[in-house]
Amino acid sequence: MTAPDKILTTLANPPLQKAVYTATGRLMDHRRVVVTPEVLPDFQELRTAANAIKRHTLENLDYYLEQLEANVTRRGGKVVWCKDGAEVAGFLTRLAKEKNARLVVKSKSMTTEEIDLNDKLEQAGIETVETDLGEFIIQLLRQKPYHIVAPALHLTRFEVADVFTQRLGVERETVIEKQAMIARRVLREKFLAADIGISGANFLVAGDGAVVLCTNEGNARLTTTAPRIHVAVAGIEKLVPRAADLAVFLKLLGRSATGQPLTVYTSFLSGPRREGEIDGPQEFYLVLLDKGRTQVLANPEKRQTLFCIRCGSCLNHCPVYRKIGGHNYPWVYSGPLGAVISPLYQGMMHDPWLPFASSLCGACADVCPVKIELPKLLLEHRDEIVRTKAAQGRGRLEKLGFRLWAWLMRHPKLYELAGTAGSVIASGDGVWMTRLPGLMNAGPGKAWTSQRDMPALAARSFRQLWRERRSRS
């Protein structure tokens, strides 16, 4: 059970290491400033409240889903229920065909990344353009997002210049501000020509039938204003009961994600334009996606993973993410969030190494705005994986090792004997491990010494020294 070799490539890339570590460090610093007791005295209370609101909503989800649907319908919109990504793609391609739509603009949505929506639409001959700057860039590069909030975190301005020249045909430009203006110009045309705008949803307000979008660039506003059709795609876990509940969540999301008390634009959208409104979409569809969420819902211990508001804070604080970056996680969600939910959606044994790729430092749980117990969930995954492997007859050597270890630990005199034997074999310096014969020089020993020196086993153990100390006095 080892991690993919890709990780070693990332670790051996100093500029990339620096980019990821610095960018996440900055996001941590920005966050820290706006959640101090002086700036936000009720921060901890808000976390508790957010956890309670999500728990309540999910424990009564059928009620709130129906309420959401009734309100969306009342306001002239239509709810489309989809069990999986294929149904979402199917609906959208049929809609595009029916409405003669050829161009789609998209604002950032991790949910649509989950289901590879862009690929499916392109296959159906529908031009699909990402409009969030980071997503736009990685779409041109045909890459997965590197971070759930900052998709292009890993790229330099030079890489951006390269892809803009190659794919947009513009003159090479390495000044970042000018790169942004190139994107503005190119995308503005698309916004104003698009037939359909697809967004995600940060929150779905059941009591209003509303989609809430928290963004900074203005692309989500344009995506949901300019085209005549707006489709919002959201997992069923995004619900909150009332608009007033946003007073809790909006105070947590921006601060946790980027250190902003509020993102530049918070849109509260409920349906197509009303009578008298001059602009806005004429048709509105809310696509509700299951894709494994109901299964997670059914497990009371794992249910809390559905509370996630996708702030990315856990990624920023994770020392492992900060070393290996977003592309070394097997699924679209990376960091501690990805490590916890990938096994739940893709199968525990799909990437069995993933829950073990953590030192369990707990920094993620400390910052999670909705108080998901991430390290606890990782430990539970480990337990399940070990038991599954045992049932499959795998991991025998490790299991044997731990069995032997546990047996020694239950027999103090034998444990002491083993310790004494060990200290006889090990000499005074730290290199003893490498002198062990064959098998003992492999595995853990070799892994340890590949990175750091080994301590010497003490000539006499504490218990021996204690006895001597006691007999002296």
């Binding site: 059970m1 080892t2 991690a3 990780i7 670790l11 290491q17 020392p319 492992v320 070393k323 290996i324 190494w353 073990f356 790729a357 953590s358 030192s359 369990l360 430092c361 707990g362 920094a363 749980a365 400390d366 606890k376 430990l379 995954h381 480990r382 337990d383 399940e384 070990v386 490790e398 299991k399 731990f402 069995r403 270890w405 546990a406 630990m409 239950r410 103090p412 444990y415 200290s423 730290g430 595995g443 853990p444 892994a447 340890w448 590949s450 990175q451 750091r452 020196d453 080994m454 301590p455 010497a456 086993l457 003490a458 153990s461 504490f462 218990r463 021996q464 020294l465 204690w466 100390r469």
Partner: protein, 241 residues
């Protein structure tokens, strides 16, 4: 009033770093406590628990409960071992009401060393002297599960001749994480190097922590990097004269 303290030195201290246990004993005896060391003690079970081998962890944890059941006050020189007992035993025995009750009864009597000094013994100055510039590493379990942050710094402030310089990332994980260190050695090593870079930037000659597992990881990386900076456990610092 606690008069008698039971030592749980941890398997790592017992076998690899006994001087940490001896220093802890020195400090406690110096404060007037009678000490006992149940020889039947071995380990809290954490390596197996973290490794997903919960059945084996339970076996070892049961042994622990049997050994320390009647202790009035257990003191331990490790944040992670103390929190294993006080925070994770309940998870292990969630399905075993008898053992669960034992855990709950024992829990308030188990103390990490620095917390014992400050909250039970009520002392900050134990008469220590160490003429060194040191920096302090906040071990993860102690920091995040036991909420240890200021305590060790208050204790260090009373050590004569000692100058404490904070590193810029005291709370960042050193990369040990138990079996993580050998399952993902390159990532673990990378995390260690980030940590020691921060340590070296302080100019300190000693890095202090309250978990020997972290210190083993950090000192291993320091030696491999050719540095002379030493790792010392808080108990060793407080036991210095």
């Amino acid at each position: 009033m606690v008069k008698r303290v039971t030592l749980f030195v941890t398997c790592l201290v017992d076998q690899l770093f006994p001087r940490i246990g001896l220093s802890m004993a020195d400090v406690l005896e110096g404060l007037g406590y009678e000490l006992d060391f149940p020889e039947a003690q071995t380990c809290c079970g954490q390596p197996a628990f973290n490794g997903g081998h919960w059945e084996e962890a339970r076996q070892v944890a049961r042994h622990f409960l049997d050994v320390f059941r009647d202790s009035e006050c257990v003191v331990c020189p490790s944040g992670s071992c103390a929190s294993m007992v006080t925070h994770h035993f309940e998870e292990l025995f969630a399905g075993d009401p008898g053992r669960l009750a034992e855990v709950r009864a024992l829990k308030p009597r188990v103390w990490e060393f620095s917390q014992f000094l400050l909250d039970v013994a009520g002392v900050e100055d134990v008469g220590a002297r160490l003429d060194r510039v040191v920096t302090f590493h906040d071990s993860c379990h102690g920091l995040r599960e036991l909420r240890i942050k200021d305590g060790p710094r208050r204790l260090l402030a009373k050590v004569r001749g000692l100058e404490l310089r904070e590193m810029d990332i005291p709370e960042e994980c050193c990369g040990f994480g138990g079996t993580f260190s050998v399952k993902f050695p390159e990532v673990s090593g990378g995390m260690a190097r980030t940590k020691i870079d921060s340590i070296l930037r302080t100019g300190a000659s000693v890095v202090v922590g309250l978990d020997s597992s972290c210190l083993m990881q950090i000192e291993g990386a320091l030696r491999r990097g050719g540095s002379e900076v030493r790792a010392m456990h808080l108990a060793e610092v407080l036991g210095s004269r």
